[in-house]
Amino acid sequence: MGLTDKVNFPQPAKFILNWGRKYSLWVMNFGLACCAIELIAASTSRHDFIRLGVIPVAHGPRQADMLVVAGTLTDKMAPALKRVYEQIPEPKYVISFGSCSNCGGPFWDSYSVTKGVDQIVPVDVYVPGCPPRPEALLEGILLLQDRIGKESLKEHYQRREAAEPEPAFTSTVPIVVGGGSINDTSIRDE
């Protein structure tokens, strides 16, 4: 923070700053349920998202840049997620990994499950699947990196501030892996 949220940098400086953020996404592994295993699988030998600069060595939220919420969020766990999110320093990104964290998934009618983490924290990328394959997470990361490469931090912070009281997805239009958009009602009405 500091300058980056007030000044519009000239293009070369902006490029370097964005490049740094793009390839150094230390990930806070918020593994909750089944999807956590696929998240770990995405970080280990065959899929290895460390290739893309997503480094899973941030053990605490303070060092993280990206929060991957993988698995079912329950009402009992929701305060912890909120807290972890708030502990991550700006600029931060959130990937919602798996149907449960997107919308409740197979536990949509449960009395103890939060139906979607976007009720608690703003989400940048939705990865659908139950659980999604590691490749889906890789695509989500690539799409997020594309977006980071183009964004302006000043606007990023302005949007965040505007969305401050309401979490949801007002920060920017979120990415949905595999196409579609979360505002696309045609799928729901089918």
Binding site: G20, R21, Y23, S45, D48, G53, L153
Partner: protein, 341 residues
């Protein structure tokens, strides 16, 4: 002739050396960090960073650095603000000072520097008490660690810092004992002098035990696996670094890797014959030194991939029950040999 004039000006030499040391201090840890990324990855049948900088992710750590400077600088509410912000500096400054006295090569032949500026050669400064300077100053970092742990107002940080302090107290002694035996054998405290003294044979050969003690003690002092209890991630998150964000955290990381380089360098100078090579004497001294430092640092990385971590009390037991007695006996033997031969 212009070079002659340049090198005979002590201020110019000083500036040049300072710049060189500074560049080395910044690049060597980055390089080591990259090697750790890739080395660990290939040991674990993966690839490691591949995208940042396109060619095998060579710019991964630069990207990390660029990111660190953009991150929000959080100081927790309950933290002791000034001490919290000061701690990373206290950690990194001693580590950087060690680089000043590491000799990379022999004294230059055409050296006409006036007395007082130190003899001219591939080192920052040739202290008469170099070895004690190094050992004393590298122990200061733990104060920074304690400050960080205490000021963070986090229980995990505190436990980590206390562990780190306990570990340092336990391992400073074997480290000093092992190093002093070398000083005894070389007959000088100057690191350059110790390097010179190994012309005939490396000091690792007479007594391998002393070298092993030194390496173990340095690993413990650096809190590297298998002695990484102060930052044991699965127990206490990240130890004293738990609450640090952005560039302050980056400084901690830099000091960790710089610490590996500097202690490897000291070990090379003390035991592995500094700039003296073998078989291929035409390779210049500084390259030998760098290669040996690299090899030793790689060993440190290798250990991380192989071993689980010990428990704090087991480490203490090892220090007090085994390493210190062995080091003392070692000193005794060195004295006897020194007197007899």
């Amino acid at each position: 002739m212009i070079f002659y004039h340049f090198f005979s000006n002590p201020w110019a030499v000083f500036a040049l050396k300072l710049a060189a040391v500074f560049i080395f201090f910044l690049t060597a840890p980055l390089f080591l960090g990259y090697v750790e990324h890739k080395g660990l990855a290939h040991m674990q049948s993966r690839l490691g960073p591949m995208e940042a900088g396109k060619f095998h992710g060579w710019a991964q750590l630069i990207a990390d650095g660029v990111k660190f400077i953009q991150k929000e600088d959080i100081v927790p509410d309950a933290a002791d603000r000034r001490i919290f912000m000061l701690a990373p500096m206290i950690v990194i400054i001693p580590v950087s000072l060690v680089f000043l006295v590491i000799p990379f090569g022999p004294a230059a032949v055409s050296c006409h520097a006036p007395a007082g500026a130190g003899a001219c050669g591939f080192w920052g400064e040739n202290f008469d008490v170099g070895i004690f300077f190094v050992l004393a100053i590298s122990a200061i970092s733990v104060i920074g660690m304690l400050m960080a742990g205490w000021a963070s107002a986090n229980k995990f940080s505190l436990i980590g810092a206390i562990r780190g302090a306990a570990q340092l107290i336990a391992y400073e002694l074997p480290l000093v004992l092992a190093a002093s035996a070398v000083a005894m054998q070389a007959g000088t405290l100057s690191l350059v002098g110790i390097g010179d003294a190994q012309k005939a044979y490396w000091f690792v050969f007479p007594q391998i035990a002393r070298f092993i003690i030194f390496v173990i003690a340095s690993l413990a002092e650096l809190s590297r696996p298998p002695f990484d209890m102060p930052i044991a991630d699965s127990e206490i998150i990240f130890g004293h670094m738990t609450e640090y964000t952005g560039i302050r955290f980056g400084l901690f990381l830099l000091s960790e890797y710089a610490g590996i380089v500097s202690l490897s360098a000291i070990a090379v100078v003390l035991y592995l014959g500094a700039w003296h090579g073998f078989f291929v004497p035409w390779i210049p001294g500084p390259i030998w030194t760098l290669a040996k430092i690299g090899a030793l640092s790689f060993l440190v990385i290798w250990l991380r991939a192989t071993y689980p971590r010990l428990r704090e009390d087991q480490l203490q037991k090892m220090a007090w029950k085994y390493l210190i007695p062995i080091a003392l006996v070692n000193i005794l033997l060195t004295m006897i040999f020194k007197v007899v031969f």
